[in-house]
Assembly symmetry: C2
Homo-oligomer: 526 residues x 2
């Protein structure tokens, strides 16, 4: 039987267990690093993370120049009061959010304008100093932190909203604007950002573009390659590429802005963004369902596409191991009875009674056909946020286990969950847990293995096993997280040699000295 | 008062005037060239069109090799029975659909496979023979026909549908598939193509990608940069770039496929396509409205975004001069009383009664507020196609005037229609007509000036006036048609010098001999 959260006592209990709203959770997640360190098992007392250069002894520093006092003086003159060199102040920016990568940069620069970014890069290019661009530093593949001693170029002070055209929905802003702040800003005009992800309380829109961030709204609003209208970026030599357009359509010449979307700061540094914001749905409902097997999850998805159609805005799944993780590590409770699989469906529409009717008819049909074992529907924003918390706090729950072996895979839907089952057999007994969750609507599986601390033996069981498995199924080894530092050498598992050769030629053309985010995206010389 | 076409006698009369359904019209439009020649005023007796090389005497043929008998023999051996050299058989492929450009190629090649395309290009690159790729040849900027004697590489025999994944909606096919055929194919699985345009009965999906075609569904499904999942393309040197992916998300390395979308065949020849097909709306309604001024058009658009929200799938407008054109030249009749402006709104949804309720409530509200003067709603497919015919047969109506000066502009909505009014003043008395119509939802204005035949004096009144006007408003001089041959030298009106420099470097890197579609997209040396 379906229980509506707004009328159900059981659900009330469930909701009380969640202390924070969705956005508070996220702020906690990504802003308050210290808090995370304290609560995490593996390094509860602030254990130092091994330096990347030491963990991967075969990786050699490329022949970049080393930062000199003269260089520091140049930057201090260019950015008065906005150059960080104190070691303790650099710790956060040297370490990735997952605490799996740690660089040893001795300088972080905080430009406020495109022209300052241009001056920095021009100087670094001439001096052959390597640079890592950094937004909110919420990436999951070690892409936004130095590997060795690269200069950190942070967009945190580039946070101005420049323009919003209410009628067309075009927002123009600097690259360092935080996604949640933009969402709040455009909400006032009945608009919404075309992307949404767990890290929204910290991640920068420039970083979102650089990594071609996906998230939970991709099903509804499509990829950033479609919704980004304009980009301003600075090339390695300081040249400013102005492709800022407020136009929805513009077929004048090659679509140069696409080069910067998803290239993870290796072809240029994004300094400003123009993005199309869709009309904000006036009504949003969330259903959380329990299902007996993955086949039922797929059947529900197919039916949701047909019966919810244009109001379907998210279709997520979690397996029971995922639910166990958030129950055990975050003390959350499931609003439905125990099931092998769980589905979260979100609708968004312009007419509440129409949406509710569609959703109820659909759920009743699926309950009757037996694909749904148990389910609940949330209709007000606080309860919706709480149900979302079960899915969105997964990353936070997992990190409490210690070290996370994090994989973000695209697969044909029919083979989607088999990888999780095969991985369980592969690492049998060596891991704390193996969980599968993600965006069914996008064919995007988040597969995570955890252990109390980094375990090289376990790592060797997982890789290259997982990459070979994915290649066999013509999947992608990185659906939305990017390749960054950690996955660069597995690119051939998803891309042909001729494509990668073309990528290398693009990199050489646009950054001949290779100063922009080295050791990332492209494979080591092969 | 609103009149429903399905119940209205007036509308019945109107509908009888349209002899063909929407797709029949299109087939007539683009397939049957001879028919067009006979019905067009300016060259009713099959007048020869001036050769492009003669019309633009300052344009010099670049130093490509000339086709030799040995070359022809090579191609005949590679493509037995699929090499066209008869002059009369080449007439159609040498001439653009608008009959404004005419090349003098003496050979057309019809490969069936990617490997044949690769062999052709490898040979042409080594021999320095220039090549123009050609799909359905329905482009409007002279991009798909030779300027001088380029070899025509046609995709017309590359028309196999390779795979359709019903669950995820991913279609994979060869580049020469005709858009309408793909729409018909995926319809059987309750899917729809994410783009729709007037030329769909002839245009090839490969050409759609190469020109980043927009059309009437962009408002709903976004641009091809978002909905294309994979591309296979052949570079100038014959190297095959395989970025064919059936995955909705894939962030492994640079998104190389984007290079081929919208570069009009100058960076590579697209040979296969993987595209995401959305769920086909089960119900579709069309409202055709008359409004007193353009301000009312904008007000209706703003309200439609709010009240129709997720079911709004198209929002088009025509001015009274546009309506006069299809009335006079195609003998069509308007289903609403005479008005200065007309709006066509299409909805598509999964629940007919919900959609109808939303649409009726919205229209009643707008009628009461006075923004709508008169209106009619079509609810069955034949009538819907007929109402669409008023808008989609505009190009056909205009061409009957003789020569078309065709402009496809993106502008901020507040300044959208002022250009049409200013153009009328500018060409006062020299033109047959000046009409404005297009995709309000995309900020995309189609502005057309017509005259009985090409008139250099009139042309000089229009250009560069129009481009300067658009630059002033930070618009785009080509929203969806591309630059092709006709607009290449106006690129700086919409793009910065640094962007164009980067484009030139991309071209040099990917096609160092410049054999692919020369004299197109990029400006002549400056």
């Amino acid at each position: 039987m379906l229980r509506l959260l707004r009328t159900s006592a059981t659900s009330g209990t469930f909701l009380k267990c969640l202390k924070s709203t969705r956005s508070e959770t996220i702020n906690f997640l990504a802003h308050d690093r210290l808090c995370l360190v304290v609560t995490r098992n593996g390094f509860a007392s602030g254990t130092q993370i091994e330096e990347t250069a030491k963990r991967y002894p075969n990786l050699k520093r490329r022949t970049f120049e080393k930062l000199s006092e003269k260089d520091v003086a140049f930057f201090e003159n260019l950015l008065p009061g906005r150059v960080v060199t104190e070691k303790s102040d650099l710790e956060g920016a040297n370490t990735d959010w997952l605490r799996t990568c740690r660089g040893s940069s001795s300088i972080l620069l905080r430009p406020k304008s495109t022209s300052e970014v241009s001056s920095i890069l021009k100087y670094c290019n001439e001096r052959k100093l390597a640079v890592v661009p950094q937004g909110g530093n919420t990436g999951l593949v070690g892409g936004s932190v130095p590997v060795f001693d690269e200069i950190i170029l942070s967009t945190q002070l580039m946070n101005e909203i420049n323009q919003l055209d209410h009628l067309s929905g075009t927002l123009q802003c600097q690259a360092g604007c935080i996604l949640a702040n933009l969402e709040e800003y455009v909400s006032d005009y009945n608009l919404t950002m075309p992307l949404d992800l767990g890290a929204k309380g910290s991640c920068h829109i420039g970083g979102n573009l650089s990594t071609n961030a996906g998230g939970v709204r991709l099903l509804r609003y499509g990829s950033l390659h479609g919704s980004v209208l304009g980009v301003e970026a600075v090339l390695a030599d300081g040249e400013v590429i102005d492709c800022m357009s407020a136009l929805r359509k513009d077929n004048t010449g090659y679509d140069v802005k696409q080069l910067f979307i998803g290239s993870e700061g290796t072809l240029g540094v994004i300094t400003a963004v123009s993005i199309l914001c869709p009309q904000k749905p006036k009504f949003s409902y969330v259903a959380f369902l329990g299902c007996k097997d993955f086949q039922a999850v797929l059947q529900i998805y197919q039916q949701a596409k047909i019966h919810l159609g244009e109001i379907l805005s998210a279709f997520e799944f979690m397996d029971s191991a995922s639910m166990d993780c958030v129950k055990q590590n975050l003390n959350l409770k499931s609003p439905v009875s125990e099931s092998p699989f769980y589905v979260l469906i979100e609708t968004g529409g312009s007419n509440g009674s129409h949406d509710e009717e569609k959703l109820n008819q659909f759920l009743e049909k699926e309950m009757n056909s037996g694909t749904i074992q148990d389910g609940t529907v949330a209709t007000d924003s606080v309860k919706i946020n709480n149900v979302w918390g079960l899915r969105e706090r997964m990353a936070e729950g997992l990190i409490i286990d210690g070290y996370n072996y994090k994989y973000d895979i695209s697969l044909p839907l029919t083979r989607f969950y088999n990888l999780v089952e095969d991985m369980r057999k592969q690492v049998d007994g060596s891991a704390t847990r193996v969980v599968g969750y993600g965006h069914v609507g996008d064919g995007n599986l988040h597969l995570n293995v955890t252990s109390p601390e980094y375990d090289d033996k376990l790592m060797k069981l997982i890789e290259p096993f997982i990459y070979d498995w994915v290649r066999e199924e013509k999947g992608s080894i990185s659906a939305e997280h990017g390749l960054g530092f950690k996955k660069r050498n597995f690119i051939y598992h998803s891309k042909s040699r001729s494509s990668v050769d073309l990528m290398k030629r693009m990199k050489s053309m646009m950054d001949p000295n290779g100063i922009l985010n080295p050791y990332k995206v492209l494979p080591d010389n092969d």
